[in-house]
Amino acid sequence: MANLQFDLVSPERRLASLAASEVQIPGADGDMTAMAGHAPTITTLRPGVVRVVHDGGADEYVVIGGFAEITASGVSVLAERALPKDEVTQDSFNAMVEDAKAAYATAQDTFENEPGPVDDAAKLISDMVAMGGHIGLSSAD
């Protein structure tokens, strides 16, 4: 029953706009699955996989950063970086993990005595690695 309008947009292009029956979102506080009639919600995203179930099967997209807006009739995911899962290669995944590690290093330098941003950056790396495990790519340490 595809009665949920799903949109996935990144700053550079619109990746998907279709009718879905359920959308699984990697929210900052945990995964959630939205179906039609969901309470209006806005959540930020952690790096992870958005899974869209529609009449023709299911699509998966890797998203990094951004937020999702859920209403009773639709889900819009605005991701800073988004790619169809198949287009994520080991190389591009490694590059993403490198970026996260670099951000962690900068955070450590900049906020020496403030745990907040450093923890956030560390969490970003672990989210990223977990996502890699989910889509079958390993992170080279």
Partner: protein
């Protein structure tokens, strides 16, 4: 009076100039289409983003705990002007118009006794700004190597700007770019990005959202992204404007070269005829003298 040979050389040289401008015009037209497509595909993101931000911002604006990126630092003495221009010239008044707008803005602020700092993106703008506002120049971001602006470039600029903001270098940031309307019209535009301003649509939907993790946390997370988003949109508008301006400038140049060739050809033919007439007169008067 130029000799026949000089004229012929000039005609040849104008002809090759025309060939170059014609080629540049066609390249600009092709690039313009791509730049417009890029600007087009970025629009959904920007629109949705701003809609959500406007909703969030109107809720948080009143509270004392509102992030500085939204409420400002409480003063407005130090202004950062981010002037975004092209890396290349030969595009009509495109770079000049943006620099002019920034200069006027800066002069008004200086007259009001404010401090002005200028950050430039794009080589041409840096040259123009350094000439007039050299003392206020604080930095330059180089995009010479970038063939097609991507979101990462915008993030880089935003990071630079936000870093300066966190360090307390300025209170208000304004970006200068050219909004693309069509091939012949581009509007130099100034847009304040810090503190963020969002247009609240009159028909804003009044849906009450649940926020995860919390409204404040989302706002704090999204405001810096908002700066990147606006800079990215501005970069794309700029790219389209640049190609549009170049296309019309080169179109004009091609037409002018054509007119010049016509004029020179007429002059060339006249002098050629004059030379022939002269020779005839000499022969005839020589024959008569005998």
């Amino acid at each position: 009076m130029p000799s026949l040979k000089d004229l012929k050389n000039r005609i040849e040289s104008v002809k090759s100039t025309r060939k170059i401008t014609k080629a540049m015009q066609m390249v600009a037209a092709a690039k313009l289409r791509r730049a417009q497509d890029a600007a087009e595909s970025a629009r959904p993101y920007t629109e949705r983003f701003n809609a959500v931000m406007a909703g969030l911002a109107s809720g948080a604006a009143g509270s004392a705990s509102a992030p500085k990126l939204l409420s400002g630092t409480g003063s407005d003495t130090v202004h950062l002007l981010v002037v975004m221009t092209a890396e290349r010239g030969l595009c009509g008044g495109f770079n000049g118009n943006i620099a002019k707008l920034a200069r006027q803005h800066a002069q008004k602020l200086l007259a009001d006794g404010k401090t002005v700092k200028v950050l430039t993106v794009g080589k041409k703008g840096r040259d123009a700004i350094k000439r007039d506002l050299g003392d206020h120049f604080v930095g330059h971001i180089d995009l010479t190597e970038v063939k097609r602006v991507g979101y990462l470039d915008a993030q880089g600029i935003a990071k630079d700007v936000l870093g300066r903001f966190d360090a307390g270098d300025f209170d208000i940031a304004t970006i200068f770019f050219s909004r693309f309307e069509n091939v012949v019209t581009q509007h130099p535009t100034a847009l304040q990005v810090i503190p963020a301003q969002f247009e609240t649509a009159d028909d804003a939907d009044t849906t009450l959202y649940d926020y995860e993790p919390s409204e404040d946390a989302i706002l704090a997370d999204l405001l810096p992204r908002g700066v990147s988003t606006q800079i990215f949109a501005a970069l794309l508008e700029n790219a389209a404007s640049e190609q549009g301006a170049r296309q019309s400038a080169m179109d004009n140049a091609t037409r002018n070269a054509g007119e010049m060739i016509d004029k020179l050809t007429i002059e060339y033919n006249r002098s050629r005829q004059a030379v022939i007439t002269n020779e005839l007169i000499e022969i005839i008067s020589g024959a008569e003298a005998l």
